[in-house]
Subunit: 447 residues, 2 copies
């Protein structure tokens, strides 16, 4: 369903490939994707987007039309464009599982492939993994902020384009959302879909009663009525009067939705009105500018809200719309490589992340080690592709969601409470040693 | 090129349509898209995305496969799904021009269509216009922050998905960027494309000299060398030594790029090194975590930087990734409508925005009036579609970019300096009167 055109990349990827082609630089390169540091207000991150990455890598190929267009641009030599017809991904992919919690300096993806391929995949690889990871990390905070409540993604309209809206629904579901309002996400990924009604629907009728009745009779299943178009409490009283009439018609109201004002106060009032009318089964849904902090506050105030619709703050991850992540060359032609740019130095070599747990199942500590060091806990990077082919069945979305729930459950309490916390990651002595040796060699270059 | 599937929408749009179908509610509805209030750090906004909206509306149709899928979900009655085969957009679209500057409370889009159509288009309409408007508004600030310098979009990898990366390049170009690194944006929209090289390219070679020479000989056009992989000033000295040798081979170095550390200081050092070597023609490009504030600061320090590459802060609009915009029903069946929800009340009726200028061409004041009030300056909403068909040729991207430049030039100085400023918008007395009458009628409902 996604457009994986190989032109969705930076010009420089092809420029570099042209040089590599001319000098036959096709030896194996190891690139790793990692996050340099946590943004403010994030104690952990959650990996997502692997399935889309594998789809991209498996189908990676220039179409004849794309090659014709590349020829027409005069950006590259004709011979080089001809050679692009043979481009495929023939390398290895190791990755954390979707739904895995991770921390800075930990590689979440490792690509091992001939240099030109490993370089060419960079732009779309980051584009796919970064966004879903941003969303899953944001959604996970919301899930932790509202234990026992159900969250639904309402944010397609303000997501950054259609692909973002679609992938946000998927990533949020992995992180523990109950579902989405976006129909296409139900079709593409099987994410459960939910819907209510808009204020315009109410306004298009001369009165709320007619609007509610018509909706109830035409769409009786999971019936949720929006009651704040004119006056929230008046809307609740109308629902109380309407409910017995609808029962006669065989329709029961599942929920009411509030979308404005002081949600805790209105929810309390609405709950009282409904309870007084014997309508304890009608659930309350709230929406309207919610984020992790307002969810935490509403839950802390014991607002009687059962469902939350979350839009913009989820699909744009408006408090942290981007992560400081990088896809860096760690080894080429069997030699570790290290970038030294100020403030951007990387840990060299191919690495593995090991996770250890306390006896009660709580995460104790991660260690980043060179891949050839001895095991030290549970490995976090797993083989996914070898020589361009899948070597494992990817978990279903439901399995990824269950894994995410396990990971969230294993977090130390301060992280689960969304409080600041020291990141429990250590760098192995062997890895520190390699980095120091490489710095030393660069300072005293041999002839 | 974009995927405009009509399933890229919220479930509730179809739920409401099912009710409208049952009750034959097909009278003309007027919806307007507007921004409720400016976010912090924005004195004005810039409209973009119209071309993609028109493409979507013109091609709006369910495919047989989509209808089969809808039937399979059991979310809707079979009759209703059958009726969706006939869905087209048959209405009118009025819009501000792409590149237009606008302010809160001003409708930038008006849809007039049978209610079900006007409702159905909501989700994707907002999705398309909101994102490009977010990006154009962000990019316009950067353009104003760096007068006389050239800006290039480097942000595909961190954009929220592929569509976002593509549309960001387009919207930034309208706002005044010189171009993008994203190849597909060159193909799709003709946005000029630029590229340099990555640190991994340098690292894959045993030394910088070989890396630079190989690139220069294989890719001599607009040659830009990345000099900060190990040590920026050492990189500049290497360039100074290399340049005469390359001239012998017929290659001249167009620019060097810095991507880390204190960019003002390094740019000064690099400029001195290059000038001392008689290489005054080599331009300096800077990148790495730049945003409008750092651009303003670098320009204020007179850093000798000619080109800026801007990534994440542009394509995710990381300081303001979303606008508080709404697409609201303003009139149905000939009667104005008004939503009263707390903090979310709207100006009712169909409206026009009129702009007046001082004698020197500077924007003086906008007035939002009912569409049937007398003209009062330059109208900002123009007819784009009538009865589902384009009635005007949309401006080319170059024309939209020129219009954006004119609009930026017309801004009052405090807005051009990116300082806070009172929004120069007034609401006409007639519009205030209509809203007051509608509130009054609601408080004293007739039988």
């Amino acid at each position: 369903m996604l457009d994986h055109s190989l032109l969705l990349t930076d010009l420089y990827q092809l420029s570099m490939m042209e040089v590599y082609a001319r000098h036959r630089m096709r030896q194996p390169a190891v690139f790793e994707l990692f996050v340099r540091k946590l943004p403010a207000r994030r104690g952990f991150l959650m990996m997502a987007g692997l399935e889309q990455l594998v789809d991209f890598l498996e189908g990676m190929q220039y179409s004849p039309e794309e090659l014709d267009w590349l020829r027409s641009t005069d950006l590259f030599s004709p011979d080089f464009v001809d050679s692009l017809a043979d481009v495929r991904f023939t390398g290895d992919l190791d990755s954390m599982a979707e739904g895995s919690v991770f921390f800075p300096d930990e590689p979440l993806i490792r690509i091992t492939a001939p240099l030109p391929e490993a370089q060419l995949v960079e732009s779309r690889l980051i584009n796919l993994i970064h966004y879903q990871t941003v969303i899953a990390s944001t959604a996970a905070r919301m899930v932790l902020a509202a234990p026992g409540r159900s969250l639904v993604d309402f944010g397609f309209r303000r997501a950054h384009g259609a692909e973002a809206g679609l992938l946000a629904a998927r990533a949020a579901y992995i992180a523990g959302f109950a579902g989405t309002a976006t129909l296409a996400a139900n079709r593409a990924y099987g994410v459960p879909v939910f819907g209510t009604m808009a204020h315009s629907y109410i306004q298009a009728h001369d009165d709320e009663t007619t609007a509610f009745e018509r909706f109830a009779l035409a769409r009786p299943k999971d019936l949720t009525l929006l009651i704040d178009t004119y006056d929230t409490e008046a809307g609740a009283r109308l629902v109380a009067r309407l409910a017995p009439r609808l029962v006669t018609a065989g329709v029961s109201i599942a929920a009411v939705r509030l979308d404005s004002g002081d949600l805790a106060m209105h929810a309390q009032n609405v709950r009282s009105i409904l309870d007084a009318a014997g309508l304890r089964n009608i659930r309350i849904m709230a929406s309207g500018g919610l984020d992790d902090l307002s969810l935490q506050s509403l839950v802390g105030q014991q607002a009687p809200i059962d469902w939350f619709g979350v839009g913009t703050s989820l699909t744009t991850a408006s408090d942290v719309p981007a992560l400081d992540c990088a896809y860096k060359l760690q080894e080429y032609a069997g030699r570790p490589r290290r970038k030294l740019s100020e403030g951007k130095a990387t840990w060299p070599g191919r690495k593995q992340v090991w996770r250890r747990f306390h006896l009660d199942g709580t995460l104790s500590r991660d260690t980043v080690r060179l891949a050839d060091e001895a095991p030290s806990g549970q490995p976090q990077l797993h083989p996914v592709m070898r020589s361009g082919r899948r070597v494992t069945k990817l978990p279903s979305l439901a399995e990824a969601r269950a894994h995410a729930a396990d990971c969230l459950a294993s977090l130390p309490e301060p992280l689960r409470r969304l409080e600041a916390f020291d990141v429990p990651v250590e760098i192995s002595p062997a890895l520190r040693g390699l980095a120091a040796r490489m710095d030393q060699e660069r300072r005293t270059p041999s002839a």
